[in-house]
Symmetry: C2
Subunit: 265 residues, 2 copies
Amino acid sequence: MKYVHGYSGRETDRLSDQANTLASLLHHDTQYDPGSNVLEVGCGVGSQTIFLAANSPEANFTSIDMSEVSLAEAQSKILERGFRNVSFQQANLFDLPFAEESFDHIFVCFVLEHLPDPQRALAVLKNVLKEQGTITVIEGDHGSAYFHPDSLYAKKAIQCLVDAQSALGGNSLIGRQLYPLLTAAGYKNVSVDPRMVYADSSKPELVDGFTRKTFTAMVEGVEATALERKLISKAEWDKGIADLYATAEQNGVFCYTFFKATGWK
Amino acid sequence: MKYVHGYSGRETDRLSDQANTLASLLHHDTQYDPGSNVLEVGCGVGSQTIFLAANSPEANFTSIDMSEVSLAEAQSKILERGFRNVSFQQANLFDLPFAEESFDHIFVCFVLEHLPDPQRALAVLKNVLKEQGTITVIEGDHGSAYFHPDSLYAKKAIQCLVDAQSALGGNSLIGRQLYPLLTAAGYKNVSVDPRMVYADSSKPELVDGFTRKTFTAMVEGVEATALERKLISKAEWDKGIADLYATAEQNGVFCYTFFKATGWK
Protein backbone atom coordinates (compact mmCIF):
# COMPACT_ATOMS: atom_id res chain seq x y z
CA MET A 1 0.00 0.00 0.00
CA LYS A 2 1.23 3.50 -0.77
CA TYR A 3 1.07 5.82 2.22
CA VAL A 4 -0.12 9.32 1.27
CA HIS A 5 2.25 11.02 3.70
CA GLY A 6 5.36 9.09 2.51
CA TYR A 7 8.09 7.64 4.72
CA SER A 8 10.71 10.43 4.79
CA GLY A 9 12.69 11.66 7.80
CA ARG A 10 10.65 14.86 7.92
CA GLU A 11 7.51 12.73 7.99
CA THR A 12 8.90 10.87 10.99
CA ASP A 13 9.56 14.19 12.77
CA ARG A 14 6.06 15.34 11.91
CA LEU A 15 4.52 12.20 13.37
CA SER A 16 6.58 12.65 16.50
CA ASP A 17 5.55 16.32 16.96
CA GLN A 18 1.98 15.32 16.27
CA ALA A 19 2.03 12.55 18.81
CA ASN A 20 3.51 14.69 21.58
CA THR A 21 1.13 17.58 21.06
CA LEU A 22 -1.93 15.43 20.75
CA ALA A 23 -1.10 12.62 23.13
CA SER A 24 -2.93 14.00 26.10
CA LEU A 25 -5.95 15.11 24.06
CA LEU A 26 -6.35 11.74 22.33
CA HIS A 27 -4.94 9.15 24.68
CA HIS A 28 -5.29 10.34 28.28
CA ASP A 29 -8.39 8.19 28.73
CA THR A 30 -7.12 5.05 26.93
CA GLN A 31 -6.14 2.64 29.68
CA TYR A 32 -6.22 -1.14 29.69
CA ASP A 33 -6.44 -3.49 32.66
CA PRO A 34 -3.33 -5.34 33.90
CA GLY A 35 -2.92 -8.61 32.03
CA SER A 36 -5.22 -7.73 29.16
CA ASN A 37 -4.12 -8.51 25.62
CA VAL A 38 -4.42 -5.57 23.26
CA LEU A 39 -3.93 -5.53 19.50
CA GLU A 40 -2.64 -2.27 18.04
CA VAL A 41 -3.36 -2.22 14.31
CA GLY A 42 -1.11 -0.20 12.01
CA CYS A 43 1.34 1.02 14.64
CA GLY A 44 3.61 2.63 12.03
CA VAL A 45 6.74 4.10 13.63
CA GLY A 46 5.22 3.68 17.10
CA SER A 47 4.05 7.26 17.61
CA GLN A 48 0.95 6.10 19.51
CA THR A 49 2.49 2.86 20.80
CA ILE A 50 4.70 4.72 23.26
CA PHE A 51 1.62 6.28 24.87
CA LEU A 52 -0.30 3.00 24.94
CA ALA A 53 2.65 1.26 26.60
CA ALA A 54 3.15 4.07 29.12
CA ASN A 55 -0.57 4.44 30.02
CA SER A 56 -1.12 0.71 30.59
CA PRO A 57 2.24 -0.66 31.78
CA GLU A 58 0.75 -3.99 32.84
CA ALA A 59 -1.24 -4.68 29.67
CA ASN A 60 0.34 -6.71 26.86
CA PHE A 61 0.37 -5.06 23.45
CA THR A 62 0.76 -6.75 20.10
CA SER A 63 1.48 -4.00 17.58
CA ILE A 64 1.25 -4.86 13.91
CA ASP A 65 2.12 -2.99 10.73
CA MET A 66 2.76 -3.91 7.11
CA SER A 67 6.07 -2.03 6.91
CA GLU A 68 9.12 -3.80 8.35
CA VAL A 69 11.00 -0.49 8.30
CA SER A 70 8.34 1.24 10.39
CA LEU A 71 8.18 -1.71 12.78
CA ALA A 72 11.95 -1.56 13.35
CA GLU A 73 11.70 2.12 14.20
CA ALA A 74 8.72 1.53 16.48
CA GLN A 75 10.63 -1.22 18.26
CA SER A 76 13.68 0.95 18.82
CA LYS A 77 11.43 3.73 20.22
CA ILE A 78 9.87 1.32 22.68
CA LEU A 79 13.19 -0.22 23.76
CA GLU A 80 14.76 3.24 24.11
CA ARG A 81 12.07 4.11 26.64
CA GLY A 82 12.51 0.84 28.50
CA PHE A 83 9.02 -0.58 27.87
CA ARG A 84 8.78 -4.36 27.84
CA ASN A 85 5.06 -4.77 27.28
CA VAL A 86 4.91 -4.52 23.47
CA SER A 87 5.65 -7.19 20.89
CA PHE A 88 5.84 -6.19 17.24
CA GLN A 89 4.78 -8.29 14.29
CA GLN A 90 4.64 -7.72 10.55
CA ALA A 91 1.06 -8.39 9.42
CA ASN A 92 -1.73 -7.31 7.10
CA LEU A 93 -4.99 -6.58 8.87
CA PHE A 94 -6.94 -8.34 6.13
CA ASP A 95 -4.90 -11.53 6.68
CA LEU A 96 -4.33 -11.61 10.41
CA PRO A 97 -2.05 -14.33 11.84
CA PHE A 98 -4.16 -14.65 15.00
CA ALA A 99 -6.81 -17.11 16.16
CA GLU A 100 -10.40 -15.90 16.54
CA GLU A 101 -11.11 -14.11 19.82
CA SER A 102 -7.42 -13.67 20.66
CA PHE A 103 -7.62 -10.15 22.06
CA ASP A 104 -9.42 -8.40 24.91
CA HIS A 105 -9.17 -5.06 23.15
CA ILE A 106 -8.24 -3.55 19.80
CA PHE A 107 -6.76 -0.10 19.19
CA VAL A 108 -6.73 1.53 15.74
CA CYS A 109 -5.41 5.07 15.31
CA PHE A 110 -4.98 6.96 12.00
CA VAL A 111 -5.33 3.75 9.99
CA LEU A 112 -8.90 3.52 8.62
CA GLU A 113 -8.43 6.82 6.72
CA HIS A 114 -5.95 5.00 4.46
CA LEU A 115 -8.11 1.97 3.65
CA PRO A 116 -10.42 1.56 0.65
CA ASP A 117 -12.88 -0.49 2.72
CA PRO A 118 -12.76 0.60 6.35
CA GLN A 119 -16.03 -1.15 7.21
CA ARG A 120 -14.65 -4.51 6.10
CA ALA A 121 -11.47 -3.82 8.10
CA LEU A 122 -13.57 -3.23 11.21
CA ALA A 123 -15.56 -6.42 10.58
CA VAL A 124 -12.36 -8.46 10.09
CA LEU A 125 -10.89 -7.10 13.32
CA LYS A 126 -14.05 -8.12 15.16
CA ASN A 127 -13.15 -11.77 14.48
CA VAL A 128 -9.99 -11.62 16.60
CA LEU A 129 -11.75 -9.71 19.39
CA LYS A 130 -13.20 -11.61 22.38
CA GLU A 131 -16.88 -11.31 23.25
CA GLN A 132 -17.39 -8.20 25.42
CA GLY A 133 -14.07 -6.88 24.13
CA THR A 134 -13.72 -3.26 23.01
CA ILE A 135 -12.38 -1.55 19.95
CA THR A 136 -11.06 2.00 20.12
CA VAL A 137 -10.74 3.91 16.86
CA ILE A 138 -9.23 7.38 16.45
CA GLU A 139 -9.32 9.28 13.18
CA GLY A 140 -9.00 12.88 12.05
CA ASP A 141 -11.26 14.63 9.56
CA HIS A 142 -9.70 17.17 7.22
CA GLY A 143 -13.14 18.66 6.54
CA SER A 144 -13.19 19.72 10.18
CA ALA A 145 -10.36 22.22 9.58
CA TYR A 146 -11.32 25.88 9.55
CA PHE A 147 -9.37 28.92 10.52
CA HIS A 148 -8.93 32.66 10.71
CA PRO A 149 -8.00 34.48 8.56
CA ASP A 150 -10.17 32.41 6.23
CA SER A 151 -8.57 31.66 2.86
CA LEU A 152 -9.81 30.11 -0.34
CA TYR A 153 -6.23 29.12 -1.25
CA ALA A 154 -5.60 27.42 2.06
CA LYS A 155 -8.83 25.46 1.54
CA LYS A 156 -7.66 24.51 -1.96
CA ALA A 157 -4.31 23.27 -0.60
CA ILE A 158 -6.12 21.15 2.02
CA GLN A 159 -8.40 19.82 -0.70
CA CYS A 160 -5.26 18.62 -2.56
CA LEU A 161 -4.43 16.43 0.45
CA VAL A 162 -8.01 15.12 0.56
CA ASP A 163 -7.89 14.36 -3.18
CA ALA A 164 -4.43 12.75 -3.02
CA GLN A 165 -5.55 10.50 -0.17
CA SER A 166 -8.73 9.68 -2.04
CA ALA A 167 -6.74 8.77 -5.19
CA LEU A 168 -4.85 6.23 -3.06
CA GLY A 169 -8.17 4.73 -1.95
CA GLY A 170 -8.31 6.51 1.39
CA ASN A 171 -10.79 8.91 2.99
CA SER A 172 -9.51 11.83 5.02
CA LEU A 173 -13.06 12.88 5.96
CA ILE A 174 -13.58 9.63 7.86
CA GLY A 175 -13.65 11.00 11.41
CA ARG A 176 -17.29 12.08 11.19
CA GLN A 177 -18.24 8.62 9.87
CA LEU A 178 -16.96 6.49 12.74
CA TYR A 179 -20.37 6.02 14.34
CA PRO A 180 -22.09 4.61 11.23
CA LEU A 181 -18.98 2.60 10.28
CA LEU A 182 -18.58 0.85 13.63
CA THR A 183 -22.32 0.27 13.91
CA ALA A 184 -22.52 -1.21 10.42
CA ALA A 185 -19.54 -3.47 11.19
CA GLY A 186 -21.56 -4.98 14.05
CA TYR A 187 -20.10 -3.29 17.12
CA LYS A 188 -22.52 -2.49 19.94
CA ASN A 189 -23.00 0.57 22.15
CA VAL A 190 -20.80 2.62 19.87
CA SER A 191 -19.97 5.98 21.34
CA VAL A 192 -18.03 8.73 19.60
CA ASP A 193 -16.28 11.55 21.38
CA PRO A 194 -14.93 14.40 19.26
CA ARG A 195 -11.61 15.88 20.39
CA MET A 196 -11.29 19.36 19.04
CA VAL A 197 -7.97 21.17 18.75
CA TYR A 198 -8.45 24.93 19.09
CA ALA A 199 -5.27 26.96 18.72
CA ASP A 200 -5.04 30.74 19.12
CA SER A 201 -2.04 32.84 20.11
CA SER A 202 -2.73 32.43 23.82
CA LYS A 203 -1.45 28.86 23.29
CA PRO A 204 1.88 29.28 21.47
CA GLU A 205 3.00 25.67 21.98
CA LEU A 206 -0.18 24.30 20.46
CA VAL A 207 0.04 26.77 17.57
CA ASP A 208 3.59 25.65 16.89
CA GLY A 209 3.09 21.95 17.58
CA PHE A 210 -0.25 21.57 15.84
CA THR A 211 -1.03 24.39 13.39
CA ARG A 212 2.51 24.66 12.01
CA LYS A 213 4.26 21.37 12.64
CA THR A 214 1.39 18.93 12.39
CA PHE A 215 -1.36 20.18 10.14
CA THR A 216 0.43 22.60 7.82
CA ALA A 217 3.45 20.27 7.59
CA MET A 218 1.10 17.44 6.60
CA VAL A 219 -0.47 19.54 3.84
CA GLU A 220 2.99 20.64 2.65
CA GLY A 221 3.90 16.97 2.36
CA VAL A 222 1.66 16.51 -0.69
CA GLU A 223 3.11 19.43 -2.70
CA ALA A 224 4.92 17.25 -5.26
CA THR A 225 1.88 15.00 -5.78
CA ALA A 226 -0.52 17.96 -6.02
CA LEU A 227 1.60 19.81 -8.58
CA GLU A 228 2.41 16.67 -10.57
CA ARG A 229 -1.30 15.84 -10.87
CA LYS A 230 -2.12 19.48 -11.63
CA LEU A 231 -4.60 19.61 -8.76
CA ILE A 232 -3.47 23.21 -8.19
CA SER A 233 -1.07 25.76 -9.72
CA LYS A 234 2.26 26.48 -8.03
CA ALA A 235 1.21 30.07 -7.33
CA GLU A 236 -2.06 29.00 -5.70
CA TRP A 237 -0.25 26.31 -3.73
CA ASP A 238 2.30 28.78 -2.37
CA LYS A 239 -0.45 31.21 -1.43
CA GLY A 240 -2.41 28.42 0.27
CA ILE A 241 0.57 27.32 2.36
CA ALA A 242 1.44 30.92 3.24
CA ASP A 243 -2.19 31.45 4.32
CA LEU A 244 -2.07 28.32 6.49
CA TYR A 245 1.05 29.67 8.21
CA ALA A 246 -0.79 32.99 8.65
CA THR A 247 -3.35 31.20 10.83
CA ALA A 248 -0.43 30.57 13.23
CA GLU A 249 0.39 34.29 13.54
CA GLN A 250 -0.69 36.73 16.27
CA ASN A 251 -4.31 37.14 15.11
CA GLY A 252 -4.71 33.65 13.73
CA VAL A 253 -6.96 30.84 14.93
CA PHE A 254 -6.94 27.21 13.82
CA CYS A 255 -9.56 24.53 14.51
CA TYR A 256 -9.42 20.80 13.79
CA THR A 257 -11.30 17.85 15.22
CA PHE A 258 -10.29 14.25 15.85
CA PHE A 259 -12.91 11.61 16.58
CA LYS A 260 -12.42 8.89 19.16
CA ALA A 261 -14.88 6.02 18.98
CA THR A 262 -15.40 3.03 21.22
CA GLY A 263 -17.50 -0.04 20.48
CA TRP A 264 -18.15 -3.41 22.07
CA LYS A 265 -18.28 -6.86 20.48
CA MET B 1 -31.66 46.73 12.09
CA LYS B 2 -33.06 43.88 10.06
CA TYR B 3 -32.65 40.52 11.77
CA VAL B 4 -31.64 37.76 9.35
CA HIS B 5 -33.80 35.15 11.06
CA GLY B 6 -36.95 37.33 11.14
CA TYR B 7 -39.41 37.67 14.01
CA SER B 8 -42.06 35.05 13.16
CA GLY B 9 -43.73 32.62 15.54
CA ARG B 10 -41.78 29.71 14.11
CA GLU B 11 -38.58 31.67 14.73
CA THR B 12 -39.61 32.06 18.38
CA ASP B 13 -40.18 28.29 18.64
CA ARG B 14 -36.81 27.68 17.01
CA LEU B 15 -35.04 29.93 19.50
CA SER B 16 -36.77 28.16 22.35
CA ASP B 17 -35.79 24.65 21.11
CA GLN B 18 -32.30 25.91 20.53
CA ALA B 19 -31.99 27.37 24.01
CA ASN B 20 -33.24 24.22 25.77
CA THR B 21 -31.00 21.86 23.83
CA LEU B 22 -27.93 24.01 24.13
CA ALA B 23 -28.44 25.52 27.55
CA SER B 24 -26.31 23.08 29.43
CA LEU B 25 -23.56 23.00 26.80
CA LEU B 26 -23.26 26.79 26.63
CA HIS B 27 -24.36 28.11 29.99
CA HIS B 28 -23.65 25.54 32.70
CA ASP B 29 -20.47 27.37 33.67
CA THR B 30 -21.84 30.92 33.52
CA GLN B 31 -22.47 31.93 37.10
CA TYR B 32 -22.30 35.35 38.71
CA ASP B 33 -21.70 36.23 42.36
CA PRO B 34 -24.60 37.32 44.57
CA GLY B 35 -25.14 41.06 44.35
CA SER B 36 -23.18 41.52 41.12
CA ASN B 37 -24.64 43.71 38.38
CA VAL B 38 -24.66 42.04 34.99
CA LEU B 39 -25.56 43.59 31.64
CA GLU B 40 -27.06 41.21 29.09
CA VAL B 41 -26.74 42.75 25.63
CA GLY B 42 -29.29 41.86 22.93
CA CYS B 43 -31.47 39.59 25.05
CA GLY B 44 -34.04 39.16 22.26
CA VAL B 45 -37.02 37.10 23.43
CA GLY B 46 -35.12 36.05 26.57
CA SER B 47 -34.00 32.62 25.39
CA GLN B 48 -30.69 32.92 27.24
CA THR B 49 -31.99 35.28 29.95
CA ILE B 50 -33.98 32.51 31.61
CA PHE B 51 -30.79 30.48 32.07
CA LEU B 52 -28.79 33.46 33.31
CA ALA B 53 -31.50 34.27 35.86
CA ALA B 54 -31.78 30.65 36.99
CA ASN B 55 -28.02 30.02 37.26
CA SER B 56 -27.31 33.17 39.28
CA PRO B 57 -30.47 33.83 41.30
CA GLU B 58 -28.81 36.45 43.50
CA ALA B 59 -27.15 38.45 40.71
CA ASN B 60 -28.98 41.44 39.21
CA PHE B 61 -29.40 41.39 35.45
CA THR B 62 -30.12 44.33 33.19
CA SER B 63 -31.17 42.89 29.84
CA ILE B 64 -31.31 45.22 26.87
CA ASP B 65 -32.56 44.86 23.32
CA MET B 66 -33.55 47.21 20.52
CA SER B 67 -36.91 45.52 19.90
CA GLU B 68 -39.75 46.45 22.26
CA VAL B 69 -41.70 43.43 21.02
CA SER B 70 -38.89 41.01 21.89
CA LEU B 71 -38.40 42.69 25.28
CA ALA B 72 -42.09 42.24 26.12
CA GLU B 73 -41.84 38.54 25.30
CA ALA B 74 -38.61 38.18 27.28
CA GLN B 75 -40.25 39.87 30.26
CA SER B 76 -43.29 37.60 30.17
CA LYS B 77 -40.96 34.53 30.02
CA ILE B 78 -39.08 35.72 33.08
CA LEU B 79 -42.24 36.58 35.06
CA GLU B 80 -43.84 33.26 34.08
CA ARG B 81 -40.91 31.47 35.71
CA GLY B 82 -41.07 33.63 38.81
CA PHE B 83 -37.65 35.25 38.47
CA ARG B 84 -37.31 38.70 40.01
CA ASN B 85 -33.67 39.41 39.28
CA VAL B 86 -33.94 40.79 35.74
CA SER B 87 -34.87 44.29 34.62
CA PHE B 88 -35.48 44.92 30.93
CA GLN B 89 -34.67 48.10 29.07
CA GLN B 90 -34.96 49.16 25.45
CA ALA B 91 -31.51 50.34 24.33
CA ASN B 92 -29.01 50.40 21.47
CA LEU B 93 -25.60 49.06 22.41
CA PHE B 94 -23.91 51.86 20.48
CA ASP B 95 -25.80 54.48 22.55
CA LEU B 96 -25.97 52.95 26.00
CA PRO B 97 -28.02 54.76 28.66
CA PHE B 98 -25.58 53.77 31.43
CA ALA B 99 -22.76 55.57 33.21
CA GLU B 100 -19.19 54.37 32.67
CA GLU B 101 -18.17 51.40 34.79
CA SER B 102 -21.78 50.55 35.74
CA PHE B 103 -21.50 46.77 35.50
CA ASP B 104 -19.45 44.03 37.12
CA HIS B 105 -19.96 41.74 34.15
CA ILE B 106 -21.29 41.76 30.61
CA PHE B 107 -22.90 38.87 28.75
CA VAL B 108 -23.35 38.83 24.96
CA CYS B 109 -24.79 35.78 23.21
CA PHE B 110 -25.62 35.47 19.48
CA VAL B 111 -25.41 39.23 18.98
CA LEU B 112 -22.02 40.10 17.46
CA GLU B 113 -22.76 37.90 14.43
CA HIS B 114 -25.42 40.44 13.40
CA LEU B 115 -23.29 43.58 13.74
CA PRO B 116 -21.29 45.26 10.97
CA ASP B 117 -18.57 46.33 13.43
CA PRO B 118 -18.34 43.78 16.25
CA GLN B 119 -14.97 45.09 17.42
CA ARG B 120 -16.37 48.57 17.98
CA ALA B 121 -19.33 47.03 19.84
CA LEU B 122 -16.92 45.23 22.16
CA ALA B 123 -14.93 48.43 22.73
CA VAL B 124 -18.13 50.42 23.50
CA LEU B 125 -19.26 47.78 25.98
CA LYS B 126 -15.90 48.00 27.74
CA ASN B 127 -16.77 51.57 28.78
CA VAL B 128 -19.70 50.48 30.94
CA LEU B 129 -17.70 47.60 32.47
CA LYS B 130 -15.89 48.09 35.80
CA GLU B 131 -12.13 47.55 36.06
CA GLN B 132 -11.48 43.82 36.63
CA GLY B 133 -14.95 43.09 35.27
CA THR B 134 -15.50 40.28 32.78
CA ILE B 135 -17.20 39.99 29.44
CA THR B 136 -18.58 36.66 28.23
CA VAL B 137 -19.30 36.30 24.53
CA ILE B 138 -20.93 33.29 22.86
CA GLU B 139 -21.23 32.96 19.10
CA GLY B 140 -21.78 30.17 16.59
CA ASP B 141 -19.81 29.68 13.38
CA HIS B 142 -21.67 28.32 10.36
CA GLY B 143 -18.37 27.35 8.76
CA SER B 144 -17.96 24.84 11.58
CA ALA B 145 -20.90 22.78 10.29
CA TYR B 146 -20.04 19.47 8.64
CA PHE B 147 -21.95 16.26 8.43
CA HIS B 148 -22.44 12.78 7.06
CA PRO B 149 -23.64 12.02 4.47
CA ASP B 150 -21.68 14.93 3.02
CA SER B 151 -23.62 16.99 0.46
CA LEU B 152 -22.68 19.78 -1.90
CA TYR B 153 -26.32 20.96 -1.92
CA ALA B 154 -26.56 21.10 1.86
CA LYS B 155 -23.35 23.17 1.87
CA LYS B 156 -24.87 25.48 -0.76
CA ALA B 157 -28.02 25.95 1.33
CA ILE B 158 -25.90 26.82 4.39
CA GLN B 159 -23.89 29.24 2.27
CA CYS B 160 -27.17 31.02 1.44
CA LEU B 161 -27.63 31.72 5.15
CA VAL B 162 -24.02 32.94 5.41
CA ASP B 163 -24.51 35.20 2.39
CA ALA B 164 -27.90 36.51 3.57
CA GLN B 165 -26.44 37.38 6.97
CA SER B 166 -23.45 38.99 5.29
CA ALA B 167 -25.74 41.08 3.05
CA LEU B 168 -27.33 42.46 6.23
CA GLY B 169 -23.89 43.43 7.51
CA GLY B 170 -23.41 40.41 9.77
CA ASN B 171 -20.86 37.62 9.92
CA SER B 172 -21.99 34.09 10.66
CA LEU B 173 -18.38 32.83 10.68
CA ILE B 174 -17.59 34.99 13.70
CA GLY B 175 -17.16 32.24 16.32
CA ARG B 176 -13.59 31.44 15.28
CA GLN B 177 -12.72 35.15 15.45
CA LEU B 178 -13.62 35.85 19.06
CA TYR B 179 -10.05 35.69 20.34
CA PRO B 180 -8.64 38.30 17.95
CA LEU B 181 -11.80 40.47 18.27
CA LEU B 182 -11.79 40.64 22.07
CA THR B 183 -8.03 41.11 22.18
CA ALA B 184 -8.17 43.95 19.63
CA ALA B 185 -11.00 45.59 21.61
CA GLY B 186 -8.63 45.79 24.59
CA TYR B 187 -9.80 42.95 26.80
CA LYS B 188 -7.10 41.08 28.74
CA ASN B 189 -6.46 37.40 29.40
CA VAL B 190 -8.95 36.43 26.72
CA SER B 191 -9.70 32.75 26.69
CA VAL B 192 -11.88 30.94 24.18
CA ASP B 193 -13.50 27.60 24.79
CA PRO B 194 -15.14 25.87 21.81
CA ARG B 195 -18.36 23.99 22.57
CA MET B 196 -18.89 21.38 19.91
CA VAL B 197 -22.27 19.80 19.24
CA TYR B 198 -21.84 16.25 17.93
CA ALA B 199 -25.10 14.49 17.07
CA ASP B 200 -25.38 10.89 15.88
CA SER B 201 -28.30 8.50 16.19
CA SER B 202 -27.20 7.32 19.64
CA LYS B 203 -28.44 10.75 20.80
CA PRO B 204 -31.95 11.08 19.34
CA GLU B 205 -32.93 14.10 21.44
CA LEU B 206 -29.89 16.05 20.31
CA VAL B 207 -30.49 15.02 16.69
CA ASP B 208 -34.06 16.25 16.93
CA GLY B 209 -33.39 19.32 19.07
CA PHE B 210 -30.27 20.47 17.29
CA THR B 211 -29.82 18.97 13.81
CA ARG B 212 -33.50 19.23 12.84
CA LYS B 213 -35.08 21.91 14.97
CA THR B 214 -32.20 24.28 15.47
CA PHE B 215 -29.73 24.16 12.62
CA THR B 216 -31.82 22.91 9.70
CA ALA B 217 -34.79 25.04 10.80
CA MET B 218 -32.49 28.08 10.86
CA VAL B 219 -31.28 27.38 7.32
CA GLU B 220 -34.86 26.81 6.14
CA GLY B 221 -35.72 30.24 7.53
CA VAL B 222 -33.80 31.99 4.72
CA GLU B 223 -35.51 30.17 1.85
CA ALA B 224 -37.52 33.18 0.66
CA THR B 225 -34.50 35.49 0.80
CA ALA B 226 -32.23 32.97 -0.90
CA LEU B 227 -34.64 32.33 -3.77
CA GLU B 228 -35.56 36.00 -4.16
CA ARG B 229 -31.89 36.96 -4.46
CA LYS B 230 -31.25 34.00 -6.76
CA LEU B 231 -28.48 32.71 -4.50
CA ILE B 232 -29.64 29.19 -5.37
CA SER B 233 -32.24 27.47 -7.57
CA LYS B 234 -35.41 26.03 -6.01
CA ALA B 235 -34.36 22.50 -7.00
CA GLU B 236 -30.92 22.86 -5.42
CA TRP B 237 -32.45 24.44 -2.33
CA ASP B 238 -34.91 21.57 -1.88
CA LYS B 239 -32.13 19.02 -2.33
CA GLY B 240 -29.94 20.88 0.16
CA ILE B 241 -32.65 20.94 2.82
CA ALA B 242 -33.51 17.28 2.19
CA ASP B 243 -29.81 16.43 2.55
CA LEU B 244 -29.61 18.34 5.84
CA TYR B 245 -32.57 16.31 7.14
CA ALA B 246 -30.76 13.16 5.95
CA THR B 247 -27.95 13.92 8.40
CA ALA B 248 -30.57 13.41 11.13
CA GLU B 249 -31.45 9.90 9.92
CA GLN B 250 -30.13 6.57 11.22
CA ASN B 251 -26.66 6.78 9.64
CA GLY B 252 -26.34 10.53 9.82
CA VAL B 253 -23.92 12.62 11.85
CA PHE B 254 -23.97 16.36 12.37
CA CYS B 255 -21.22 18.57 13.84
CA TYR B 256 -21.35 22.25 14.78
CA THR B 257 -19.25 24.37 17.11
CA PHE B 258 -20.11 27.35 19.30
CA PHE B 259 -17.37 29.47 20.80
CA LYS B 260 -17.51 30.86 24.32
CA ALA B 261 -15.01 33.59 25.09
CA THR B 262 -14.19 35.37 28.33
CA GLY B 263 -12.10 38.50 28.73
CA TRP B 264 -11.21 40.91 31.53
CA LYS B 265 -11.15 44.73 31.54
